[in-house]
Structure formats: structure tokens, C-alpha cells
């Protein structure tokens, strides 16, 4: 385990140096929340890959494939397909319309305090539902990988994230994510080459050996998700949930224009997509070379599959090569968690400091330097809260929260965002209706489903998106119709569209409310 700590200390020093540099370039709100909109497409593409690939993707996908075969490959495909939705529908309009947050888009479109409050709620629920399992996962993982205790692991991860975000803002967060993505891809490429050499560049043998050892069912679906509707629901959750995740949306404000936002999505689709393909091959290789029994003994959920495969490829347990490979992959896993929680914290700070305090409580009237101060302070508060929740979550089943985050994003945030961008009649009643029905149905169905109640589940599906997303859209449409026509809002839609699709600014006055 010494190799892990050694390599991780190097990563930590590099990221802290980046933060020191970034802090000197972070003095305005635009710099704090959006890195001054100065990133290139490649930079934002790498950062998106760092933001989106959590430990669940880096470690989990190969683990699922090693233990459950094809279902793991399905898990890896969804997150790439999800970027199609983002590219075709969301990325460019977001860049053209908003400033730092999802709240900005809704505020400009609706110009009402109620709609802003509804969207702040959606953002905070999704971000904390996502952040808490990340912190709990960090505790378990860092403990497994380095041997330090769960509580100290959570405190260490939380403290690092507070330092990155509070001092270096989006610039530090971005570069931490870029470093993590580069390391993740380097580790993936190295493992891929070693696997290819091991099988004499014949990938078919991976499938053949896995089938021989674990039977034909291993290469078929329904080993992990038994209910057929759960496969579909998971797919829907991915393709529409990503487009409703506030911490991913925030990344599109870091580039200068819609064209760059578009190109950055293509970057992430090739970078992350290539890694996802890799996870399927790594999972099969680990099942063949390491074996499911060894993987299960190390961690029941299969989360140590990739580190174990790396150890095997490096020469095996106890060899120098094996320990270095294990240490490298484990250190990248810790860096992965840091990059994701930093993005989540920054985005939550945007919702609390920028959307709620500055735009809702202060109605947009607050000096620039006070706004930055509030943003930094809220980061520290959110970070401390995340640490506390992470420690409280030890031993608690947090799997339900992961499902909840993606499900609320797909069922509440996604309908409200797309209808705001594209439907003239959509109004404040619709924002509230969509947010309410999407959020409540997601929470209730997740709580009474198998992820929370196990065998006593009242509701059969692990992932409720297949029902809650249509309900979210229904709530949005019903809310709009029940609230009646908002003529002023509809008259503004022409100017709003000009902004959404052509990037015009200054046509719509900043809302006064």
C-alpha cells in the first residue's frame, strides 16, 4: 500500500500547486464560477471527462463486467449515449442563455422568484444526493486502498475539496479534473496495451475464455438487473439524467461560446467513450486472469477489480511491478473522487451563493467582491456539511441516493430545462409543477423500491425513471395549463429564442424582482 500513498502524495502536491496558481487568477465571480469563460474545447472536454467519470465509472464498470458480464457493458454504454442528448439539445442553448447555473437560465426565461426557488431546490437535492454517496464511497475506498480509517478518509477528501474550490474556484476545479482525466486515460491505455499483449492482440479470446469459465449466461443480460423494465429505466435515467445534472451543466459556462461548448462535448465523447469501451474489456480480462472469487474476496461489490487486474498485469502480488501498478491505479481512483466532489461542491455553491443568496435574497443587488466572498464561504459550509454527511453515512445504504440523483435530474431538472428552452407557453406554474411531480415521484418510488427496502420492496424497480420522468413532464404541462396564459412571458419568448439559438445578449433586461 506504500506505492499508493507515494503516488497519491505526488498527485496531491501537483493539485495543490495548481490551486495556488489558480487562486491568484480568481478574484471575480466570473472567474470563481466559470474560469472567466476562457477555456478551450479540449480543456473543457478533458474536464468534462474528469467531472462525469466518478469512481463508479472508473472502478465500478469493470467490476460489474467482471462479476455480472454483459450487464456491466450496458452500464458503461449509457454514460456515453447520454452525451448525445447533451450535444443535440442542451450544451449550446445553456452556454448562450445562462451565466453560471441552471437557475440563471430559468431566471432569464421566467423572471419570477418562485421559478428560481423551484430550480434551486432541484439543484440542491440532486447535488447532495450525488455528493453524499461520493463522500461515503471515498471513505470506503480510501480506507481499502491506503489503510487509513473511514472517518479520516472522509475528512481528508472533504478538506482537499474545500481547499481546491474555496481558493481556486472553477479554475482549480477544472485543472484537478483535467489532471484526473489524463491520469485515468493513461492508466486505461497502459492496462489496455498490457491486456492486448497478454491475449496476443486477439480480443475474441477474452470472450471465449470468459464463456468457457463462467458459462454462456455470463455473456448475456439480466445477471445484475433482473427486472426487464429496470434495464430500460436505467437507460432512460442515463440519457436524460446527465442533461439534468447541474454540476455537468456548469462546465459549459467555462467556454467562450456555443461553438466551443459543442466541440468540448465531442472531446468528452471520444475520451470518456474510449475509456468506457476499455472498462468492458478490463472486466472480462479480470474475470479471466484474476478470477471472480479473488475479486469478491477483496470487495463484495467488485470495486477493486481494476486495481487487482493492474496488479496482475504488473507481475502479480508481491512483485515490484505489481505493487507499482496497483498503487498507480489506486491513486488515480482517489484523484477521481477528488475531481468529482470538487465539481459538485462548486455547483452547489453556485445554487446557494449565486442563485439563492445573491439573486433571490438580495435580488441581484450585491457588490462583486461581496459575491465572491459569499461564494467562498458557502463552499466551506457545503464542504463541512458534506464531511459530516459522509461520516454519518458510514454503513448506511447509500446506493439509493445515487439512483435518486440521476432520477431527479432526469425527471425534474431535465423537463423544466428543455421546456423552458423550447416551449413558448411554458410558465412559472409549469416550472413548479414539473419540479414538484418529478422530484416527489422520484423520491417516493426510490424509497419504496428494492434499492432501499430490499426484499420488502413495495415497488419493483430499482430505478424509477421510466415512471417518474413522464410524471415530471406531465407535472410541467399540467402546471403550465392550470396557471393560465402568461402573455408577458410569451411575448418575451422571441427575444429569448434569439438568445438561446443565436447567442444574443442584452436583448432581455436582467430581471428585477
Amino acid at each position: 500500500m506504500n506505492a499508493t500513498l507515494g503516488i497519491f502524495v505526488v498527485i496531491l502536491i501537483v493539485t495543490l500547486a495548481i490551486t495556488y496558481w489558480a487562486a491568484k487568477h480568481t478574484s471575480t465571480t466570473s472567474e470563481f464560477y466559470a474560469a472567466g469563460n476562457q477555456l478551450t474545447a479540449a480543456q473543457n472536454g478533458f474536464a468534462l471527462a474528469g467531472d462525469w467519470c466518478s469512481a463508479a465509472a472508473f472502478l465500478g464498470f469493470s467490476g460489474l463486467t467482471a462479476l455480472y458480464g454483459m450487464d456491466g457493458a450496458f452500464y458503461a454504454l449509457g454514460p456515453l449515449m447520454a452525451f448525445c442528448t447533451v450535444l443535440f439539445l442542451i450544451a449550446e442553448p445553456l452556454r448562450n442563455t445562462g451565466k453560471y447555473t441552471l437557475g440563471d437560465v430559468i431566471r432569464v426565461r421566467m423572471q419570477t422568484r418562485t421559478s428560481l426557488l423551484a430550480v434551486i431546490t432541484g439543484t440542491i437535492v440532486v447535488n447532495f444526493a450525488y455528493l453524499m454517496p461520493q463522500m461515503a464511497g471515498a471513505g470506503v475506498l480510501v480506507k481499502l486502498l491506503t489503510g487509513i480509517s473511514y472517518d479520516w478518509a472522509v475528512i481528508f477528501v472533504g478538506a482537499s475539496m474545500i481547499v481546491y474550490v474555496a481558493f481556486g474556484g472553477m479554475l482549480a476545479t477544472t485543472w484537478v479534473q483535467i489532471v484526473k482525466a489524463a491520469l485515468m486515460l493513461a492508466a486505461g491505455a497502459l492496462i489496455l496495451v498490457m491486456v492486448l499483449v497478454l491475449v496476443n492482440f486477439d480480443l475474441l479470446t477474452l470472450f471465449r475464455d470468459a464463456q468457457t469459465r463462467y458459462g454462456p449466461q455470463f455473456l448475456l443480460p439480466a445477471n445484475y438487473l433482473r427486472n426487464p423494465f429496470d434495464q430500460i429505466s436505467l437507460g432512460l435515467g442515463f440519457v436524460f439524467g446527465l442533461a439534468g445534472l447541474p454540476h455537468v451543466m456548469t462546465r459549459f459556462y467555462t467556454v467562450p461560446d456555443a461553438k466551443t461548448a459543442r466541440r468540448s462535448v465531442v472531446w468528452v465523447m471520444f475520451l470518456a467513450g474510449a475509456f468506457f469501451v476499455g472498462t468492458t474489456l478490463f472486466g472480462l480480462a479480470a474475470a479471466n486472469f484474476v478470477g471472480q472469487d479473488v475479486i469478491r474476496v477483496a470487495d463484495r461489490g467488485g470495486n477493486l477489480t481494476l486495481p487487482l487486474l493492474a496488479q496482475y498485469l504488473g507481475g502479480g502480488k508481491g512483485t515490484l511491478g505489481g505493487e507499482i501498478m496497483l498503487g498507480f491505479v489506486s491513486a488515480v481512483a482517489v484523484a477521481t473522487i477528488l475531481a468529482v466532489v470538487s465539481g459538485l461542491t462548486l455547483s452547489t455553491s453556485g445554487a446557494i451563493a449565486h442563485d439563492f443568496y445573491v439573486n433571490w435574497v438580495k435580488r441581484g443587488h450585491l457588490e462583486e467582491h461581496r459575491q465572491v466572498w459569499i461564494a467562498r464561504t458557502s463552499t466551506v459550509v457545503i464542504g463541512v456539511l458534506a464531511i459530516a454527511l459522509g461520516i454519518l453515512a458510514q454503513g448506511v445504504n447509500v446506493a439509493v441516493l445515487v439512483i435518486l440523483a440521476i432520477c431527479v435530474a432526469a425527471s425534474a431538472n431535465f423537463p423544466v430545462l428543455t421546456l423552458s428552452l423550447f416551449w413558448r407557453r411554458f410558465n412559472t406554474g409549469g416550472v413548479v409543477g414539473g419540479m414538484l411531480l418529478g422530484l416527489v415521484s422520484s423520491v417516493v418510488l426510490a424509497m419504496i423500491g428494492p434499492a432501499m427496502r430490499g426484499a420488502d420492496a413495495i415497488w419493483p424497480l430499482v430505478n424509477p425513471t421510466i415512471v417518474s420522468m413522464p410524471l415530471g413532464f406531465l407535472g410541467a404541462v399540467l402546471g403550465t395549463l392550470l396557471a393560465g396564459r402568461d402573455k408577458e412571458n410569451e411575448a418575451r419568448f422571441g427575444a429569448f429564442s434569439l438568445r438561446v439559438h443565436a447567442g444574443s445578449r442584452g436583448r432581455i433586461a436582467a430581471p428585477e424582482f
Binding site: L204, R262, A502
Partner: protein, 117 residues
């Protein structure tokens, strides 16, 4: 003359004309975008959600062997990766060559971001 009623504000009239021209241009852009984005969105959704439905309800079909131990299921997963990458490249090409010039006509670049809110 009826037009005389607004002739005392020619600049306002020019502004209204400019605004409505912009709105017509952006409406044309939205129509063009919908005509292109709608089909490709449907293609990728049918391909991917369709595959998850096959996984739930047509395991026998996914189990058919194609090359060695690799079955239809894994081929379709690989096909979806290829489709996502292909559609992304096509989308960016069309956006660069068609949508950007239309957006430029609706709202020339030098005027963009004149007031950052």
C-alpha cells in the same frame, strides 16, 4: 397618411423592423435545427433504448453468436458506441456549416455578448 403617426419616431420604427427581421431569421434557424436534430435524436434513442428493451425481452436474440463467443448483444453494444460517435461528428459538421451561418445572419457576432448579465 396612416404611416405619419409613427413617422416622428423613425429610429424606433427601424428598431422594430430590425427586431422582427431577427425574429424571422431565428425562427428559420429553429425550424432548420428541429428538422435535423429531431431525426438524429430519435435514431439514437431508438437504437439505445431499443437495445435495453431487447436486453429485457429478447435475450434469445442477443444470445445468437456472431464471431466466436461474441454474440449479437455485444455487437449491438459496439454498434451503439459507433453510432454515438458518428452522430456527434455529423452534428458538429452540420452545426458548423449550416446553423452557425444562420445564427450569424440572425445576430451578427460583433453584437454578441454586448451586455453580459
Amino acid at each position: 397618411m396612416r404611416s405619419g403617426t409613427v413617422s416622428n419616431a423613425p429610429s424606433r420604427r427601424r428598431e422594430i423592423a430590425k427586431e422582427s427581421a431577427q425574429h424571422i431569421a431565428v425562427a428559420a434557424l429553429v425550424t432548420a435545427k428541429v428538422a435535423f436534430v429531431m431525426p438524429i435524436t430519435i435514431i439514437f434513442l431508438v437504437s439505445y433504448i431499443g437495445l435495453t428493451a431487447l436486453a429485457g425481452f429478447a435475450k434469445g436474440f442477443l444470445a445468437l453468436k456472431v464471431i466466436g463467443a461474441v454474440n449479437v448483444g455485444f455487437m449491438l453494444i459496439a454498434g451503439n458506441y459507433a453510432l454515438a460517435w458518428l452522430l456527434a461528428i455529423i452534428y458538429v459538421h452540420v452545426a458548423n456549416t449550416t446553423f452557425d451561418p444562420m445564427a450569424e445572419r440572425a445576430f451578427p457576432l460583433p453584437n454578441r455578448f454586448e451586455v453580459s448579465q
